[in-house]
Symmetry: C2
Subunit: 364 residues, 2 copies
């Protein structure tokens, strides 16, 4: 429990000066410090279990190698934690550490979180949300390099770059998957329109019909909510007391929990999945989609990839800002702050086919 060894301790033990210690331990010893001294220094460092005090380093280098992450409720809720995991993995690879502040959906805490993080001299800032949504970027967030993950700058000029999933394409590919199994009467249970995720997935669903030259039956799109019970009751509305020939043959859901409700309702009505009706989830929620009975076909959100992509891009900006301008600055065209990259990076979702989708029943 005794205090850690400092460079001075090492120097004393090795009988040299602090500077020598610094040089040797940073690989700049050769040609500067006598080999014999180097040896002694290394031994002393090992003996004392020396490692430099990162706080002192931060002060001196004016960079903390800390990335601040503000989350709206990623920590508290069971969702989207993999965005942070992906981001953190990349940060760690680069010798950065992340500190996460969760506002638990209290928007008034945004600025405070950013302020706290800035006081801690973070080198960069990331904002992560549960579910795709527009973000009112907190003040001062742009004082250091910043990026958004799973949300996007709500200002028309979109100052802060963002990494988001390609929900439109996800919705479309989900629909195309069941179409490829022969389904034509396909319902969509779709969360709500409070966040852009559901509307975008619906847009993809519509575009699948358009591309297939099929009409879209708007009555098949139900914005019911996001939870199990919503899926259950939505399905009851779609199927209960409806003659078989007029039932949809497939139900697409805006997330996996809705799909649980759908299957629950099907079983209650004595229907089999996927023999009588095909069901698809969305998200590929850990320990849910794969473990369902039947295992859910779903559209996996690329959470880890999003986090990793966001952090990669952020660290590039951090480097760029800290390195004094070199080389290419004389390029014609001038100032471009973000080197021509679009402000929004789209990451594709991934179709996962399991057991809840099957061929359309004969005669439909």
């Amino acid at each position: 429990m005794n205090r850690k060894a400092t460079a001075l301790d090492v120097a004393k033990l090795a009988g040299v000066s602090r500077s020598a210690v610094s040089l040797v331990l940073n690989g700049r010893g050769d040609g500067n410090v006598a080999l014999e001294s180097q040896q002694r220094i290394r031994e002393a460092a090992a003996a004392l279990n020396y490692s430099p005090n990162k706080i002192a380093l931060s002060l001196r280098n004016r960079q903390s190698r800390i990335i601040g992450i503000v989350s709206d409720q990623v920590v508290t809720s069971p969702f989207d934690g993999n965005i942070i995991a992906g981001a953190d993995a990349v940060a760690r690879e680069h010798g950065f550490v992340t500190v996460v502040m969760d506002t638990e959906l209290d928007g008034s805490r945004d600025e405070g979180a950013v302020e706290t993080l800035l006081d801690r001299q973070v080198d960069g800032l990331m904002y992560v949300t549960v579910g795709l949504r527009p973000l009112h970027v907190p003040a001062n967030m742009d004082r250091v390099p910043a990026i958004l993950a799973n949300c996007f700058d709500d200002r028309p000029e979109a100052v802060v770059p963002a990494v988001i999933p390609d929900e439109v394409r996800g919705g479309r590919e989900a629909a195309e998957h069941v179409m490829s199994l022969g389904h034509r009467d396909i319902a969509f249970l779709a969360g709500d329109s409070l966040t852009p995720a559901a509307p975008r997935r619906i847009e993809g669903y519509r575009s699948a019909f358009l591309h297939a030259g099929l009409p879209v039956n708007e009555a098949r799109v139900l914005q019911v909510g996001w939870d199990i019970d919503a899926g259950f009751h939505g399905t009851m509305k779609l199927l209960d007391g409806v003659e078989p020939a007029r039932r949809p043959t497939a139900i697409l859901c805006a997330n996996d929990r809705l799909a649980i409700g759908v299957v629950l309702a099907c079983y209650r009505l004595g229907l089999s999945v996927p023999q009588d009706i095909s069901v698809m989830g969305y998200d590929d929620e850990f320990r849910i989609a794969k473990a369902m009975v039947p295992a859910l076909s779903t559209m996996a959100l690329p959470l880890r990839e999003m986090g990793a992509a966001a952090m990669t891009s952020l660290l590039r900006d951090v480097d760029r800002q800290q390195a004094p301008d070199d080389g290419g600055t004389a390029a014609p065209g001038g100032k471009e702050p973000r080197s021509g990259t679009s402000a929004e990076t789209m990451v594709p979702c991934r179709l996962v086919v399991r057991d809840s989708t099957g061929q359309v029943p004969a005669g439909r």
Copy 2:
């Protein structure tokens, strides 16, 4: 994007020395600095939007006001995030910030995480796990005040204190709940014995029978796993093709996902919940238990409370260590390092009654 203002900037603007700024801004101005100067200093600070550089503070005070949290997979998985949320809330109240490192279940990364955190000069360390389990405490973790949440020191001497849920009592109260509804033939679907959570819950289940003066039917305890499909197949084994009078009337599950599987199986068999059979979950998983059809009766894990309790205790130790010994040290009895507290703090679970449990069917 320009660098933040320093105390020197404030001093210059106010026409005083750095020391005066420091004094005033830390409330020690009265009696040391002229009121007029104080006013000017405060104005200057506000004008420059000054706030002290925490890194410099940390270096000077030899304390970072950072608590390091090592998690085995709390960040990555959808579970138990509320432990961290609870811990973080308490930390924030006390002006601390937490930095979380997730090892993603790779035990070999434990020591590295602790090392990294220690290099960052954290004032304290917490280890958080998904699901109760014994922990092989990483080396060096005891170089600063430390605590475990949802896990416990696997060494017989139990050096590091821990905060864990009272699983035995939880299991017992779950069983007592359905007993109070008249059930006597109660099955338990129980995860596995790889972690102590399921065995302890089973132990509670048994003790409920003992206290009620009823025999325990060991054939009713099935260690099937933790996921939806395990619940489904376990239930099938219990109910499918079994004559009604020989079926259990209630099924207790070691978590809420198992309960989903149970209900799924019941529906498939044409059984109603809770009319034909009562089902109970465990955990009160967010967006699952409450949203199920029917809404699940369950035993809520006190995650937030555990995190908060662990952090409260940890910060007390941090304070104690940093404050030089004052007053009471002369108390008789001497050294006691942990002021007599037991190393393991148990937090009770909370019974949540919803719609999946009901009176035992007539005649059973």
